[in-house]
Amino acid sequence: MTQGESTLLRADDVSVRFGAARAVDGVELDIRAGEIIALVGESGCGKTTLARTLLGLQQPTSGRVLYEGKPLPTGTRGLREYRRHAQLILQDPTGALNPRHSVYEAVAEGLRIHRVPGDERELVASALSRAGLRPPERFFGLVPHELSGGQRQRVVIAGALALDPSVLIADEPVASLDASVRGEILALLLRLRDDLGLAALVVTHDLGLAWNIADRVAVMYLGRIVESGPVEQVLTAPSHPYTKALLSVLPESEGPATVLAGETPDPSRVPTGCRFHPRCPLLAAGLPDSVADRCRTVDLPIVDGASPGVACHAVEVATAR
């Protein structure tokens, strides 16, 4: 499938290298209007670098990012204009907010930078209420330390909403919040999608979050997407041995846990063949020689960014039969 009409943001064979490290190593990913995608993976897999690249905060070494079919601008002014449409939500709202700025100032800042026309007070109030801080006037004068963690994250989200973006890129938006508050913030992201058609890419290591709010999920390992597809399919009937292992170690998981030894390898030393093969439980359990050889020597094609896909030699063989 090529770029559909509804594709809002697209990573087109994006790679990002830092010296010898291949942080992102050929990624295709489409984000459609009104769609929530969860990009999951462990730390060091490249998911945050990919998110930064989609925002234009990081230049791809090769490949390109397209917004509404056009490559991202490279100039400062062009990028500033682009960031009105694609807004970033960070993990730690306490770090994202200036401790001396009032809630009003925090939300109005973006409006001023982007010289958004209209009544500033009204725009701020409307953004705060859309983020669930009601009545908004009550929050105008408060400073971050007078707010709870959940309220701070709502202020950060209101700052993004004030600019009327079409896509939010959220990096672990609830990881630093209390368990009971987490559901409320996730419900807000879901409601913004339903009411405003706001698309979101949520970067997370939390598969439960994907189950809670995402339409599609993309699983990343060592710079590549190894499996992607609709949430129900990928999370309840995973194909890739890495996705299977991730799901099996969740505390509430029923079956036996497949605990992979070691940690994600160094991205400056990506293994040959399938990048997962040194930790792959399928390969360790024994595959036919013809397949095992391919696992060790043949790199896998890049998973398509729009349709479901799996990057695994063993799965390829099984489906071909």
Binding site: E42, V181, G183, L186, L190, G208, L247, P251, E263
Partner: protein, 322 residues
């Protein structure tokens, strides 16, 4: 099995602040026997870490402990500093959260593991080195990693070092404060598997603290849920997770969905409002302002923990004694 490893009787902790006394722990009863594992769940500010640190009196100077905290039958609050030093590491030790900050960045991890052993005067240099190697292997690291500095290790490896340090003086009780927060799922699974194995093999007691009920239920036999400085529900871990009785436990259990459960798909569940400020607790049941099942009486009645079924206690008006 005689004396419990750890017993808390109406334990309280108050912080003296410029604005008066702030009650962080408001009367907690707990008991852990040798080889038993107890998970303590709750959100930030509920008092769970304060409670755990009170066991070894690792609290800031403005904290005042009340009630009884019995470690091997001996009241921690009455101990002299000398006695307390002897008890720390040897009878109970702590695995702190955030191994990056808990370890000294400029000392080799082997020396840091050896420190408690030396403090407790156990043997010659060779014997200490041997013990360090043994401990590292016990937590799944090669003995030669003793020469590594913390920054040369990954997050999971550092947490293993913290566990090795906690085991150094063969304590009967380990207190693990959010031992897997900030770790990836796979590394979390590795650390939890390791902890469970050690508890089993060495027959030590474990008090584990987390905000994630499912993590606790996968590691501990029993579960206690804390809210606003008190335990609001306690029972067998699996039962508490699967059939929570207190409305707060229900909300916590629903916060982390089970993948495949259709009712949580595209329907994240949380609780309105925020955990209460310990210096300004609501009257009556402290949970009533956020409680989805609140009754008119709840704002005027402070409910204490009481038995609601076999091996289960809950502090809620909705629950009548069996």
């Amino acid at each position: 099995m005689g004396e419990p490893l750890l017993e808390l009787r109406s334990a309280t902790v108050d912080y003296r602040t410029a604005n008066g006394l702030v009650p962080a722990v408001r009367g907690v009863d707990l008991r852990i026997d040798a080889g038993q594992t107890l998970g303590l769940a709750g959100e930030s500010g509920c008092g769970k870490s304060t409670l755990a640190m009170a066991v070894l009196r690792l609290l800031p100077r403005n904290a005042a402990i009340g009630g009884e905290i019995l470690l091997g039958g001996e009241n921690v609050t009455d101990m002299s500093w000398g006695r307390l030093r002897a008890v720390r590491w040897a009878e109970a030790s702590v695995v702190f959260q955030g191994a990056m900050h808990a370890l000294n960045p400029v000392r080799r991890v082997g020396d840091q593991i050896a420190e408690p052993i030396r403090l407790h005067g156990k043997g010659s240099v060779e014997r200490v080195d041997h013990r360090v190697g043994e401990l590292l292997e016990q937590v799944g690291l090669p003995a030669r990693r003793a020469r590594a500095y913390p920054h040369e290790l990954s997050g999971g490896q550092r947490q293993r070092v913290m566990i090795a340090m906690a085991l150094a003086c063969s304590p009967g009780l380990i207190i693990a404060d959010e031992p897997t927060t900030a770790l990836d799922v796979m590394v979390q699974a590795q650390v939890l598997t390791l902890l469970s194995r050690l508890v089993d093999e060495l027959d030590i007691g474990l008090l584990m603290i987390s905000h994630d009920l499912s993590v606790l239920a996968s590691t501990c036999q029993r579960l206690a849920v804390m809210y606003a400085g008190r335990i609001v529900e306690q029972g067998k871990a699996v039962d508490v997770l699967r059939e929570p009785r207190h409305p707060y436990t229900k909300a916590l259990a629903a916060a982390f969905p089970t993948i495949g459960d259709a009712s949580s798909r595209l329907s994240p569940r949380g609780l309105a409002g925020d955990p209460p400020d310990p210096s300004d607790l609501p009257g009556g049941c402290p949970f009533h302002p956020r409680c989805p099942s609140v009754l008119p009486e709840c704002s005027g009645t402070d409910v204490l923990l009481r038995p609601v079924s076999e091996d289960r206690t809950s502090a809620c008006l909705l629950e009548v004694e069996p």
